[in-house]
């Protein structure tokens, strides 16, 4: 249990520290970024160390963390570990793409959301779980406010609204469900003085509660008619923050909602055909409509947003089933959804950054220039749908068959594959003749040694260094040339043209001052360390094109492993929720 507490503490400290540092710039930003990255790494390691034993329904009071308020379990371990691993890769891509500015907002938001999500998944009380899921949702605002730009206030407004509305609905439903269940049991139980009666009004109330829970999750996942938020969010947020905002943050709330259904509604086995049909109809319409929208959409971010909505809608089938058997498949699908959509969104973000366009038609020929990215998209597509025998494929089938009878289950399964043409469109488009946007982008090729990253720049009046030192070359070489290690360590961004030369001058002057004032041995060690870090940074930036693609491929492979069912995902998802026995869970 101390592992869980340590995870929460380090995550919270990392979130606060990185938010504080990254908002200030300069040395504080570098410290914040390094601290946040280290915290993320430690969280990932600690997550694998969490207790994975199934939670006992009769856990004694006082067990676990915070007087039994939190309890680790196998599902929590898998979700947090995968979330942290994905976050590390996404953060790495963000840093390669935009330097420290690229991780501003993303890093603290990710850590805060992981902490909130961990509490939500470990909570032994439904109210605490719902409240923590709301707190995890609020982390989205950190990423949005840091991104700034036009429309961020409106996007933050919508995120705040759904972040709090969902938990409010779940808390109310979780409080009312035991009372309604009591009345239902009164109505259906055989009275000694008379025959048993139907569930009556209390049964209708239970159906209403089921719809309330479904509403909370539908709003969060952006199911139609609540989908308008998603493309606008995609416009306002940083592309690499979207995996967090669209794929991971919905997980805690969804799990808590499924928890209420599994613990309080499904065991009563009441006939709720009307409610089930309504939810299934909404899911079916969402699957078909978003698949069509994604296929027709020419804006890459919007198209990917619709792909995310389509897969998120499948979670609602776990609620519509109102069956305890749907607990495991629904939670399995949630992990698969998050992992596969993270890979797809990361692919989209890297493609947009590399080819400098969001227009899908302008991406024609991308696959020829980016084979690693192409492999990533293929693997992510396979992870999204799975193949027979994989957890993802089985979850799709199980959820459909539990939520709807024949032939609607077959239709739901087919509708779930309706997004496949969009993936194929993106892949086929990539094999065509390259557009100018694609042609001018850096190709993926590993080059050992020196590689020019910018054209030589002549700068008048800058032939001498700023401190009056010896003359520099009149024609500055391209960024990334040898001897720039200290400068690159000092700066946040890659060098470009004259700005880079000034940075070099400043860094060299700073290095000389440091060398002059420090003791010889210490300065020597520091200089060696700085050179080492500089060389590493330079090497990573030099091969940034390939490294970003490789990171996306790694995300896709992680998604494929998840979809396959590595680490017994299906078993962990089927474990009981850590809700201890009590009056509310009878």
């Amino acid at each position: 249990m101390t592992v869980l507490l340590a995870l929460l503490g380090i995550g919270a400290l990392g979130a606060a520290g990185s938010a504080w540092g990254l908002a200030r710039g300069g040395r504080a930003a570098r410290l914040g970024a390094v601290g946040g990255a280290l915290a993320l790494l430690v969280v990932a390691i600690l997550a694998f160390g969490l207790d994975s034993a199934p939670v006992s329904r009769t856990q004694p009071a006082g067990g676990g963390v915070l007087d039994g308020g939190l309890s680790a379990n196998g599902y929590l371990r898998l979700v947090v570990a995968l979330w942290a691993l994905d976050a590390i890769l996404v953060t790495f891509v963000a840093w390669l793409s935009g330097g420290i500015r690229g991780v501003r907002g993303l890093l603290p938001a990710t850590l805060a959301a992981i902490v909130g999500g961990t509490v939500a998944l470990a909570a032994t009380d439904l109210t605490l779980g719902a409240a923590a899921a709301g707190a995890a949702g609020l982390a989205a605002l950190v990423a949005l406010v840091a991104a700034g730009g036009p429309g961020f206030v409106a996007a933050s407004y919508r995120e705040l609204r759904i972040s709090l509305l969902g938990p409010v609905l779940l808390i109310a439903a979780g409080a009312a469900a035991p009372v309604a269940a009591t009345l239902v049991l009164r109505d259906v139980s055989a009275d000694v003085n008379g025959p048993a009666v139907g569930p009556g009004e209390a049964g209708a109330l239970m159906g209403l509660l089921a719809l309330t829970i479904a509403l909370a999750i539908a709003v969060r996942t952006g199911v139609i008619p609540f989908h308008v938020r998603v493309p606008r969010l995609a416009d306002a947020a940083s592309p690499l923050a979207l995996p967090l905002l669209l794929a991971w943050i919905p997980i805690p709330l969804s799990v808590v909602g499924l928890n209420i259904v599994d613990q309080l509604l499904a065991p009563l086995a009441l006939p709720h055909e009307g409610e089930t049909s309504l939810v299934v109809a909404v899911v079916l319409f969402t699957l078909l409509a978003t698949a069509l929208a994604a296929f027709l959409q020419d804006d890459l971010r919007h198209a990917v947003g619709y792909l995310v909505i389509a897969d998120g809608a499948l979670v609602l089938l776990g609620l519509a089933a109102l069956d305890t058997a749907a607990w495991g498949p629904a939670r399995s699908w949630l992990i698969v959804f998050a992992a596969s959509k993270t890979a797809v969104i990361a692919w989209s973000a890297v493609a947009e950054a590399r080819f400098e366009t969001r227009s899908v038609p302008d991406l024609r020929g991308w696959l020829r220039r980016s084979p690693i990215l192409g492999a990533a998209l293929v693997v992510a597509t396979v992870a999204t749908f799975g193949i027979p025998g994989w957890v993802a494929f089985a979850a799709r089938g199980d959820l459909a068959s539990l939520a709807a009878g024949s032939p609607w289950d077959a239709l739901l399964i087919l509708a779930g594959f309706a997004t496949l043409p969009t993936y194929l469109r993106l892949l086929v488009l990539g094999t065509g003749p390259a557009t100018s946007a694609v042609s001018r982008a850096a190709p993926e090729r590993i080059v050992r040694g020196w590689r020019p990253e910018a054209l030589p720049v002549e700068r008048e009046g800058a032939l001498r260094s700023s401190d009056g030192g010896p003359a520099l070359a009149g024609s500055e070489g391209p960024a990334g040339a040898s001897g720039r290690g200290a400068a690159e360590v000092a700066g946040d961004e890659p060098f470009e043209g004259s700005q880079g030369t000034e940075v070099v001058d400043r860094a060299r002057a700073r290095s000389r001052r440091v060398l002059a004032t420090s003791s010889a041995s210490a300065s020597h060690a520091m200089a060696r360390g700085a050179r080492l870090v500089g060389r590493l940074t330079r090497a990573m930036r030099r091969d940034g094109t390939e490294l970003t693609a490789a990171a996306v491929l790694a995300l896709a492979i992680l998604a494929a492993l998840t979809s396959w069912g590595a680490l017994d995902i299906a078993g962990a998802a089927a474990q009981p929720a850590p809700i201890v026995a009590g009056p509310a869970s009878d």
Partner: protein, 246 residues
Amino acid sequence: MTATLAAVAVLVAGGGIVAVSAREPRLAALGTLVVLVGSGYVADPLPEAVALAARLTGAVLAGYLIWVALRRPGALTAGWQIGWPGATVIAVAAFAAGWLAAGALGTELAGLTGEGPSAAGVATALASGSPVPRAAIGAAAVLIALAAAPVLVARDVLRMGIGLLLLVSAADLVRHALAAGSDPVVELGLAVVIALSGAAVAALVSASLRTHGDLQLRTGAGRGAPVRHRSADEAHPRRIRSDDAA
């Protein structure tokens, strides 16, 4: 004691009226603070002292952060168009409806206590006829009725945020009324979430004032899709780099 707690529920409802109808933003923030603080105390039995202290701290922190965010010039809100008399009428009706509904539910549960497998421990205070859970349900109904419009249709960042905080308090009141008791860990968690929610509302208000100079929501600015609005010279958009400019 129960009469005092029921009076706190009425105070919470009054705070809700002020929060949604006041035209002075800081007065609205004050009403929100009353709601956030009071809603933690309308419970029978009362939570432990530590839990109450945590709730008080979280609520005060949330209210204070909103108060601070409203220091900037331009923080003007239109309030609710129906004004405080209209809001009061809605609140009275909602409170009466909530009180009566809770009474009916309590009567239903009173006949069950101890008979069914789940009867014991569910809404015990309500089943025993205590006025506190009835007042809590009444106050929750008031907050839901008052917050619905700001949350669903308001174009004012502050009003929407206040509406959300009222809904959080309403959910808490419902939980207090229907649950058997309260766990200190849960109260602590709720206190943290209330403080974070207040911070989020304050951040949004501050961002709106900094960006637009007022609290009005502008959604059009976010539609900068490069595909839909592309001019002729942007056939192949690319960023201008410093070396290009040189």
